[in-house]
Amino acid sequence: MSIKNNNVVKTEMLAARVRKHIVDMTHRGGSSHVGSGLSIADILAVLYGDILSVDPSAPRHDDRDRFILSKGHAGAAVYAVLAETGFFEAEKLKDHYQNGSVLSGHVSHKGVSGVEFSTGSLGHGLSVAAGMAKAAKLRQKSHKVFALLSDGECDEGSNWEAILFSSHHKLNNLVAIIDYNKIQSLDSVEATLGLEPFADKFKAFGWNTIEVDGHDHLALKKSFALVNIEKTRPTVLICHTTKGKGVSFMENSVLWHYRSPQGQEYEAASAELQVSIQQLEESNHA
């Protein structure tokens, strides 16, 4: 086992806690998209734990980095990371999906501190992020704008409009992150509407294109750091991920796009994630 620096352990702990919340939330809500949330837990933990300049005590500060979850169906993961990083009490996560709650299945900003933009229909977030990035450049602000998309979402043509626009306008302050777990709603990406050669497509569109293991915190951090030296191009991080990551029987399974963890399945998932948290705590104290 390689020696990890404290920074990686910190964000790995954050990811593990986010995963536990996601499973608890989708269990309580009887809701879908547990696999989609688990897939991005590491990306979110690295972003909120290390990369994004955001302040829970001043969530609308003008200099904050903007983060848009374009794959809004993984809202539970964003709510969880916001709660874990101090934007609101983790207790509030128990409202997710409940009658009268503001914590909707698809991420919404209304009444939820820290959510930059509401989504849920796919193919919206990148255009909005490009608008924000363009505004930042016009206003000579130095913050960055991040948009996290799913792979299936890249079927939406509107993304490709935004991809054209962003390179044409040299939005080097824009970072698209693709959760490339290779599984979409009904089947694999390749069987549904293949994206390969995916990286080549972004390169051909003039983007700074980086492929990275979306569960390797150190690699993610290094990749995000590369954005800082990019002078003219928007950056895309194509994150190779595993849908359902962290719960062995949910990994790489189409089933867990929609299935909600209940009964023994919930108990097993919960126990597995609890073990992960304990192991990380032990390695942290070792």
Partner: protein, 307 residues
Amino acid sequence: MRDAFIDELTSLAEKDPAIMLLTGDLGFGVLTEYAERFPSQFINVGVAEQNMSGLAAGLALEGYKVYTYSIANFTTLRCLEQIRNDICYHNADVTLVSVGAGFSYGQLGVSHFATEDLAILRALPNMMVVAPSDPWEAKVLTRQMALIPGPKYLRIDKGVGGSNENSADVSLGKGRVVREGLDVTIVSIGAILSEALKAAESLSDIGVQARVISINTLKPFDESIIFDACRETGGLICIEEHTEIGGLAGTISEACLTNGITPKFFSRIGLRDEYPTIVGDQIYLRDAYSLNAENIISIAQSTLRNG
């Protein structure tokens, strides 16, 4: 009307660096001066209206007062979900500007007929819906709209309503009584006001005095001007260059029924629930689909005779 809008926007942009005009690669010759004078307040985003609407939301949430410009249904229906989710739900300060109300582009075919826009945009929460009757009114309304943050729709007509310029009488959200009368009321929206005025003139010749109301804002809607007409005049005929579903007639019907106020009679002139199959200039198509003074006159005559 299109030039009046851009003239006014140019004056606004001179004073306010937050004004940002996006076009979906349309406005040849129309936007040129603006684009040259305010290069940092203008982006031709290309032929990509979904992206344009998302960009507009993003720019607006960062403090810009954004205008999206294109023709026909391209700033509206093409990107309706971006308007709903990104602009309206976030209450972003974006004005959708569509040139080509109704049959303005009559020769171009059904793709270029903006004939369902009022009904569809009116249904969106937070959205203001504005349809000036005349170029001078478009100028005044553009100025007034700029003072109100939030999502707005500006429907630009090629036709000219023909009402006398009276800027003091124009107020966003308020209808205008363009002609006084008590026998019947003709209500119009947009430049088809010209047909209402023509009908009122002819009716006057046969002793029928028609009140003519021009509605410039469908939402929020000036109910009181309609309720007054219901109480004071012999009935309502409304005319719109738009489907008869959900636009002016729909708004009036909802307002009246909801408030228990009934006109002595009510008749609507609009496009039937079917697509036009022929082309022609705006006047030709109005006639072809009976959106004209003759139809108003014949309804008024037969109703008043029977009444």
